[in-house]
Amino acid sequence: MHRDREQALPLSTALRRQMMLYLLPLMMGPLLMLLVGCFVLPSKWVALHSQNTYLVNLGWGATLHNANCQIVVYGDSTAMVGINPAVIKERTGLNTCNIAEFEGMTILNGTMVLDRYLEQNRKPQFIVFLYAPEDFDPPSQRNMVSTFEAINWRMGQPHKLASLYAIRHHPQYFFEWIEQGWRTVIQRLGTKPAAPKVVDFRADHSGQFPIEAPTQTACEDTVRPTSVPSEEWVSGLRKYNRDDMTVLVDSTPMPPCDPKLTYFRERLSGLIDNEVKTLPIGSFTTDGRLHVNAAGSVLLSNTVANQILQRMSGNSTTGAR
C-alpha cells in the first residue's frame, strides 16, 4: 500500500538487513555478468564455438612468431581481402605477410596487431599501410562498422583495465559487446567448435581473407561517406619509418564510376604514397564495402608489387615521399 510519506519510519535493523540481502542479487547479478564477461567472452572457447570465421581469425598477425616477412601489409578490410601475398612475393621475391584487419579492428585498436607482430618477428623491409580512401579519417567511420569483434580482441589482450580505458569515450561499445557476447555464448552452448579449415582460414590463405560475393556491376550502390583525411593520423603511420623499415601509406583503388573518386583523389593527393587508382567495376564485389574479388585481388596485389619494385630500384614516381 502507499506509504504515508509524513509517517515514514526508520527501518528496523532486521528489516534493513532483509532489504539489503534482497538487493544484493539484483545489484550484483548484472555487475557479475559484466565482470565475468570480460574474461569469458574474449576466450578461445567463445571464438571457436561462435564458428565465426572473422572472430576465430581475429588478430591473426599478432599470433605470428618468426614469420619474418620482408613485406608486411597492414590496413583495413580492403587490404585484408584484397592483398594476395603470393602475388607480391612472386613479383618482388620478398616474403610477404598480409596482417590487415577489418575496419572495426583498425579503428578501435589502431596498429596494435602490427606492433605485436613487430615484437615477435624480425623487422620487415617494407610496411605497406593500405586503407580505403574514406578510412584515412578513422573517427568518421565509427558508425559504419561492427565493433564487437574489435572489442573482443582488445579485451583478450593483457591489461584489461587499460583496454577499458581505451574505450572510455564510447562506453556503449563495451555494453553492446557484453550483451551480444553473452547472447552468443548462450546460443552456442552445446555446439561443436569451429572446424580446422575455419580456424586456419587466414593461415591457409597466407593471411588474405578472400570473400565470395557477387560481382559489382554499377556504382549506384556505392555509398562512401565524405570523410576528410587526417594528416595527423597519416603522420602517426609514418612513425614506423625507422629501423631500416620503409613505410608506404596507400589508398586502395576505386571504381572509375565512383562519384567520390575526384573528391578523394584531390583530398589524398600529397598525403599518401600512391595515387587513388581505379580498377574496373567488375573487380569489386557487392558485399557493401567495395572489396575486390579474385580478379581484382590480382590487380591490386600487382599494383602494390610495382610500387615496391620501384622503391627497391630507388625510382619512386608517385607520392610525395
Binding site: 538487493l23 539484483l26 562506453p171 553492446e176
Partner: protein
C-alpha cells in the same frame, strides 16, 4: 539517454544514486542541486544544444511564476498567465508544429517553398505541459511559489522529464520540502529497483520483440494481406502497451529509488470495458491533465453561456439531445481534437483524437441515456465489452501508427477484407527485414503464440502496481488468474528478478527508443 541502455543502467543510475546518498549529509539544497545537475546531464547526453532550451524554458517560467500567486492583483495575474501560456505554447508550436504545417501547405500548393523540419527536442511537450500546469495552479492558488532549485527538480527530475508522467506541483513539491527529502532508503531502493526491472522487462523482452512486425507492416501497408494486416496491427497494439507501460513502470521505479512517489500512469487499459474507462487507465496523467486544463475550462465556458441564455446545466438537462450536444459532445470532441494534435503534426493524429472523441461521446451517451440498472446493461457480458473496446482502440491505433491517413484507411480496408485475402502472412516479402532477435515473427504459428502470450499478460495477469502492492487504500485488485501474486522482498523474488534483469540486459543492444519520446 535511454532507461533501457547499458550506459543508463550501469553508469548513470548508480552514479546518481551514490551521489545522492553522499550529498544527503549536506542537506536539502545539496540534494536538490544534485538531482537537477544529474537530470540536466541526463537530458544533455542526448543533445547538449537542447539543454539551453530546457534551461531557458525553466528560467522563463520561473520568472513568470514570480508574477503569479499571492501578493499580486487578480488582473495582473490573469494577464501574466496568458502571456506565460502563450510563450510556452509558442515554443511548442515552433518546434513541433510550425515546419510540418508549412510543409503541409507546401505539399498542397498553398506556399511555394518547402522547409527543413527542426529536430524536435526530446520531451518538449512534457516539460512544457508540466510548467503550464504549475503556472495555472499558482494562479488558482492551488500551488505555492517555489524557489529555483525545487522548481528545477520538479521540471527536470529525469524519471519523468522525457515522457511523463505529467506531474502536478502538489504531487512532487511537498516531497521536496525540508525534512521530507533525505538520503536513500533501502526499502524504497528495493521496491524501486524491482519496479524498474519489471518495466524494463516489458519494454525489452516484449515491446521491442514484437515491434519489428508492426514496423514492417506500417512501412509497407499496401503489400499486406488480411492476416498480415491483423497480426501487424495487433503487434503494434501490444508494442505500444508494453512500451509505454514499461516506460511508466521504470519512471515510477526510478523515482521510488530516490524515495519520491509519482502518480500511476498506466492501469491495465486493455482491461477497460468502455472508452471512458480506457482513458482513465491509459496515460492517466495526460487524461487528468486534459480533463483539468482543457475539458473542465471548456465545460465551464459552455455552462456559463447556457446560464447566460437562461438554460439549465443540470444532469437532467444533459440527458436531452440539445443539452447532451452542448454540455457533453462539444467539450469531449474539442478536448480530444486537441489531444490528437498534441500527439503529433499529422492528420492521422487528428483523426486518432477525433475518433476517440466520438468513441467517448458514444460512451457518454450510453452512460447518460441508459443509466445504471438499465435493462440493456446486464445483457452484454464484460468480456464482450472488453474485446469490443479493444477493437475500437485498435482501429484508432492504426491511424496513430500509420504514416498518413491514406495508409491507415487502406490498412483498415485490408483488415476488413475489402481488398480480398491478399498474400498469406508467410508470403509477406518484408518479413525478411525482421532482425534475428525477433525471428519468431516470421512464422504464423510462433507469431500467434507470441501475441497470445501478450494477450494473456494483458488480460489475465495482475498489473505491476497490483503485484507490487502499491494500490491506494481505496483501490482493489482487478480480477486476474493470479490474484495472490504479490511481490515481497524475499530470496525467491530477489533471485527471480535478478535472473530476469540479467536476461533482459542481454537484449539491451537490440532495444529501441520509447514510442512516447516522439511526443
Amino acid at each position: 539517454m535511454l532507461f533501457s541502455s547499458g550506459i543508463f543502467i550501469f553508469l548513470f543510475l548508480p552514479a546518481s544514486l551514490i551521489g545522492y546518498q553522499l550529498l544527503s549529509r549536506l542537506g536539502r539544497p545539496a540534494l536538490l542541486m544534485w538531482l537537477t545537475l544529474a537530470s540536466l546531464f541526463f537530458y544533455g547526453y542526448w543533445n547538449p544544444s537542447y539543454l539551453i532550451l530546457l534551461i531557458a524554458s525553466i528560467l522563463m517560467n520561473f520568472l513568470f511564476a514570480r508574477k503569479l500567486g499571492e501578493g499580486r492583483s487578480e488582473q495582473s495575474q490573469s494577464r501574466w498567465l496568458i502571456i506565460a501560456i502563450t510563450a510556452n505554447l509558442s515554443l511548442l508550436v515552433y518546434y513541433k508544429y510550425l515546419f510540418p504545417l508549412l510543409n503541409f501547405f507546401h505539399e498542397h500548393g498553398a506556399i511555394h517553398r518547402s522547409f527543413v523540419d527542426v529536430m524536435l527536442p526530446l520531451g518538449i511537450s512534457f516539460f512544457t505541459f508540466t510548467q503550464i500546469a504549475y503556472l495555472i495552479d499558482l494562479r488558482q492558488r492551488i500551488a505555492k511559489r517555489q524557489g529555483l532549485l525545487p522548481y528545477s527538480v520538479f521540471v527536470t527530475f529525469f524519471p519523468h522529464l522525457i515522457a511523463g508522467p505529467i506531474i502536478h506541483p502538489r504531487e512532487l513539491m511537498p516531497q521536496l520540502d525540508e525534512g521530507r527529502i533525505r538520503g536513500l532508503r533501502v526499502d524504497d531502493l528495493a521496491l524501486g529497483l524491482s519496479w524498474f526491472i519489471m518495466g524494463l522487462t516489458k519494454k525489452v523482452l516484449i515491446a521491442d520483440r514484437v515491434a519489428p512486425l508492426s514496423d514492417v507492416l506500417f512501412a509497407h501497408p499496401y503489400a499486406a494481406g488480411i492476416s498480415t494486416a491483423w497480426l501487424g496491427s495487433l503487434a503494434y497494439a501490444m508494442q505500444l502497451y508494453f512500451d509505454f507501460s514499461g516506460y511508466s513502470d521504470m519512471a515510477l521505479g526510478l523515482a521510488r529509488m530516490f524515495s519520491l512517489e509519482f502518480p500511476f500512469n498506466f492501469n491495465s487499459p486493455y482491461k477497460a470495458q468502455g472508452i471512458i474507462e480506457f482513458w482513465q487507465r491509459w496515460h492517466m496523467t495526460l487524461s487528468r491533465y486534459l480533463n483539468e486544463y482543457l475539458y473542465t475550462p471548456i465545460l465551464r465556458w459552455v455552462n456559463g453561456r447556457r446560464m447566460d441564455a437562461g438554460k439549465k446545466v443540470t444532469r437532467k438537462a444533459s440527458a436531452t439531445l440539445e443539452g447532451f450536444t452542448t454540455m457533453v459532445a462539444f467539450p469531449v470532441l474539442t478536448t480530444m481534437f486537441i489531444a490528437g494534435i498534441w500527439h503529433g503534426a499529422g492528420i492521422q493524429f487528428l483523426v486518432f483524437g477525433v475518433l476517440h472523441g466520438l468513441y467517448l461521446t458514444v460512451n457518454h451517451a450510453w452512460r447518460i441515456f441508459t443509466p445504471q440498472g438499465h435493462r440493456f446493461h446486464k445483457k452484454i457480458p464484460a468480456s464482450i465489452l472488453v474485446v469490443l473496446n479493444f477493437l475500437c482502440v485498435l482501429v484508432s491505433l492504426v491511424f496513430f501508427r500509420s504514416a498518413n491517413v491514406h495508409d491507415a484507411v487502406y490498412l483498415l480496408g485490408t483488415m476488413s477484407g475489402i481488398h480480398g485475402a491478399g498474400p498469406a502472412f508467410g508470403n509477406f516479402a518484408f518479413l525478411e527485414g525482421i532482425p534475428t532477435t525477433s525471428k519468431f515473427l516470421v512464422h504464423t504459428s510462433t507469431t500467434l503464440l507470441a501475441l497470445a502470450i501478450c494477450f494473456f499478460i494483458v488480460w489475465a495477469l495482475p498489473n505491476t502496481q497490483e503485484i507490487l502492492g502499491q494500490l491506494r487504500a481505496d483501490e482493489t485488485r482487478m480480477p486476474s488468474l493470479l490474484p495472490r501474486l504479490t511481490w515481497k522482498p524475499t530470496a525467491v523474488w530477489s533471485v527471480g528478478l535478478a535472473a530476469l534483469f540479467c536476461f533482459v540486459i542481454l537484449l539491451l543492444d537490440a532495444s529501441t527508443r520509447f514510442l512516447y519520446f516522439q511526443f
